[in-house]
Amino acid sequence: MMKSSVIVFPGSNCDRDVAVALKKLQFKNSMIWHKETELPKSDLIVLPGGFSYGDYLRSGAIAAKSNILSEVISAGKKGSLILGICNGFQILIECGLLKGALLRNSGLKFISKDIQVKILSNKSKFFNKYKLDEILKLNIAHNEGNYFTSKEHLDELEDNELIPIKYCDENGNINLKSNPNGSINNIAGIFNNKKNILGMMPHPERMSDKILSNESGLGLFLSLMN
């Protein structure tokens, strides 16, 4: 049985949604408060969405300095699987596990809507249940999702299949029109070099039950079990 830990910060609001998705797939899940100094042995660590510390200073900046994060960082460096969704992605960037920055959306508005992403690489622990070029309908809800990084790092991401998903339209076109937030090259999520750490702005946990929406996001959790 896969063991997972969902880290909870003051202001997290998607922590229980992820827990529901994980439990549906029989993960043995623990909710870990940010003040804890020890992390239970986990096959998967999730940094959930929300507004940790009210987005003070910069989104994710304060959470990145919390007690439990030093455990998460050392687990990540040892190769544990870490999934950061939305605010979790922002925290992964602020703590240095992922490179780049998430800037304010180019349109200056908080965006909450369903969008499409295209699977550009399924060779990873996170996306192996999806087909290449598959289009998923997922939900985004963020104010700072505009991914930015240096030219050198962007080339590294593109050349090494470290960008598993990009924003696209219903037909799979990846262009300015299908870019909701100004993210460079329509990036919706990125890996670290070893592909054990994934940060993504869309919420797979919101698309994991037909009662709520669709099951587009379920494949990600199923992939992790594969």
């Binding site: 920055a101 800037l103 505009n146």
Partner: protein, 79 residues
């Protein structure tokens, strides 16, 4: 001993907020405006008598938390 820290976005990082502020200023009739970049300001009071060591502490604060050096630059000034 007090220090002022100014944090600004690096030159090549897009600043949508600054752009909108600049456009709004133009709309209300401000002339000869070339550009506006928005940043953050911190006023820091330290229990410290040595300027060099105070400044070193503030620098550490900037590097560790106040600024994200991938996208931001910081300036420290004793006030």
């Amino acid at each position: 001993m007090k220090f002022a820290v100014t944090i600004t976005l690096k030159k090549d990082v897009l600043d949508p907020q600054g752009k909108v502020v600049g456009q709004t200023l133009k709309n209300i009739g401000i002339e000869n405006l070339n550009s506006i970049r928005q940043g953050k300001f911190f006023e820091i009071d330290l229990d410290e008598s040595d300027t060099a060591s105070g400044e070193a502490k503030v620098r550490k604060m900037c590097e560790k938390l106040l600024a994200n050096q991938i996208i931001e630059d910081f300036q420290i000034k004793k006030i």
